[in-house]
């Protein structure tokens, strides 16, 4: 029965070719370190899912932001779980991305013809940090506030463009409600949009070029 449905859909969409290209492609003999990329992808999906759930209750407005986070953590059914997953997931994501990158460096996997994959990977690394930075302000407590003060002030040190960079980040000279909405907008719309595009490119290139084998000493 299921194969019949599969056939029916395949006739009209050709999904089996794509499925085969993605999941049934030939790979060299590899080890567990090669799962770090997939692990990152999984964590990202988890962040998307939990993040979307959090937006149902989070209010990006100075007088209510912290109260809403408090509500999510302490009162909402399983809110503490969703927020906890999102919180720890962000650390896990950074850790996995870095390990993934170290693996790529160690195996020389960025070499021809996979330079473009590497470039998109570096961009994804920066994007991941940006997620961490913008998300950190959203609980709107003292720690978040001052971490953002320090963070944006660090940006201000940048030669020539530091001042404008800071105003763009903060939406003014000081952290305000505008900063909160700005960071929120970046965290839930701008960065995810860019992330999806880059992840798409990254995945396409990985599939297109195949993955490298574990290098031998004389290779």
């Amino acid at each position: 029965m299921s194969s019949k449905i599969g056939d029916w859909v395949n006739e009209r969409s050709g999904w089996r070719n794509h499925y085969a290209a993605i999941f049934l492609r030939k790979i060299p003999k590899i080890n567990w370190l090669y799962t770090l990329g997939s692990a990152t992808l999984f964590t990202m999906t988890l962040q998307f899912a939990t993040g979307i759930l959090l937006t149902l209750y989070y209010v990006p407005e100075p007088t209510q932001a912290h109260a809403s986070v408090d509500y999510i953590t302490n009162e909402l059914t399983f809110g503490w779980l969703i927020r906890g997953l999102h919180h720890w997931g962000s650390s896990a994501m950074v850790l996995l991305v870095i390990l993934h990158m170290v693996r790529v460096i160690a195996y020389g996997a960025y070499k021809y013809p996979r330079e473009a994959t590497w470039f998109s990977g570096v961009a994804l690394l920066l994007l991941t940090f940006s997620f961490g930075f913008t998300g950190y302000l959203l609980p709107w407590d003292q720690r978040a506030y001052w971490a953002t003060v320090v963070g944006t002030r660090i940006g201000e040190v940048t030669p020539f463009v530091g001042g404008s960079l800071k105003s763009v980040m903060l939406g003014g000279e000081e952290i305000s409600g505008l900063t909160l909405t700005r960071f929120y907008g970046a965290h839930v719309w701008i960065l995810p949009a860019v992330l999806l595009v880059l992840v798409g490119i990254h995945m396409y290139l990985v599939i297109r070029n195949g993955i490298t084998a574990v290098p031998k000493r004389n290779e």
Partner: protein
Amino acid sequence: MREQDREAYLEKYEQQKKKGYFLFLFQLLKYFPGDLEVVGVIVLPVMALTFLIFLPYLDKSPWRHWSARPVISTITIAMLAGATFLTAQSLLEEAPPGSVTEAGDRTAALYISNCAGCHGSKIDVRPDTDLFSVVSAGTHEGMPPWNADLSADEIDALIGFILAPRGSEVFAGSCSQCHAAEQLIEADAIELRNALETGSAYPPHVEFNLAEWSDTLTAAEQGQLLNFLTAPDGQRLWDQQCSSCHGRAVAFDGSASELRDVVVQGGGHLDMPAFGQTLSESDIQTLARYVLDPSAPGGDLFAQNCSACHASTIPTAASLPEAVDAIARGGAHENMPVWGDILTDEQIAALVAYVEQAAEGGDLASGGELFAQNCSSCHGDLGEGGVNPARAGDIIAPISTAEYLRTRDDRTLQAIISQGQPNFGMSPFADSFGGPLKDDQVNAIVAFMRAWEENPPVELPPDVPSSPQPTASGEEVYGELCSQCHGPNGEGGIGTSFADPQWQARNQDSAVFDAINLGHEATAMIAWGEILTLGQIDQIVTHIRTLDSSAPPPAPDATPTFEADVLPIFQASCTACHGTLGGWTGTSYTDALTSGANGPTIVPGSPDSSRLVQSLIGTHPTGMVMPPSGALSAADIQTIIDWVAGGAPEK
């Protein structure tokens, strides 16, 4: 998940203080303070990023195995090791000093809950930092101001802890059972040293069985303990130990090492002249009596001869002969304690630095001159303020009131003078901001202004009675409140003059009402709407209108009478014709009411229908305005109108 699990989970969740993966970056910044910051913030991260981006082109080798690419492998391992090391370093510093918390060290607990989150377990402070202002006011570098969360004593205790952490431990171990750190912070350094050295023999400690601190504590520990209790903060040391004799600052233009010697040696650097050579016998007697009893005459003599050194502190003497002798012979005074024996090296260094800094403030005389040259044209000779020449319609509020000076510290005044207040039309005065004054000249002006604080030339704001009676009339309220600034008759003073006819003409009732109700933010006029009822404010507006100097004097309560008020006017202006020439005659009451060619000239109670009034004000259709030489004065006409309206009484 069970409830306990959830609790435990949340607790752990809260413990996660900073994002772990940013720790290395923060730690990195600590190694690049000040101007080097850009290295830690930009140069190194950009280098790392450039390395990552161009990795495929930096690494041209055809080999992929790590051992075949030694350079790249080394750099990668170095970067990873570096980040790991910095993170570990940061986590280690993060760990609160466990032993002190166990010992119940409250200051350490204060430090851990307020400072350790960002600063780790200890802070390296540059020697000339004014820690108190840093802690209480925060810094631009992202440190929040703590003065709202912590009391001044707590901040002082924290400063002691930061500068002498070992002292805090000693304190927790040896003293904290009886003393709270914040109590001893304000203690006299001499007493502290005394208690430390005499140990169990120190009078307040006698009944307790205490150790001999000078034996049980090493010299270094004693120093740390004293530094903890009286932190090496020059300003506070000055306030505690020096200001009682030396006032706000001493003039000193020698070198720092000389000053240090003076402080360390203390004692006989004060040579009192032998006044027997310069003052008459009777003057010395007067002074001696004044010293024994300050209510006796002699204050002027004291001010002339003694206060330069003694300030307002009158020295004491046991008897008249002793006082006479001391004044006549002068000599070395051993008044100043030998601070070298009392203060720690760090404290003396901080004190010397502070005294030098304070001495740069300049003397009051030059500050006064500079004020007269630069400030008084707008702020008045005594800082009383006035009309703002830079902004029409604006009033400069007084800057020499006790309230103004008390609520602004020297640094604020200095900033205002240096940078100006462009929004209020004040240009910057410091040369670093394009103005004419050097920094020390600005300081001199600040010192000059500060001298007002004790005895402000302008008294403001007026005392506001807590609850003016809601039933008080507008006039009463005016007399009680408004008149303090605007004068009892609206002649003005600190506030606007209401007697000024131009002011009266310029401001409508609604504007006056609003000014009273809402106040005026640029001046000391507060919003009275919170204190007075709207009805009262209305009455005050009415009352203010009566203060116009050009307005006719308020009508007397009684209706004018013919004999007292009207006849004199008639006699002066009318009866030359209207007495003998026929027609209406105004020489007597009966004639005035009954004579006339065409019926009554005066209709009692109805000025409008009275021919007399019509002729006086020119509303009669045929006749000319009377008298022919020109209309009567407005006041006279009003008197007659009132008389007619009041029924034209004879007397």
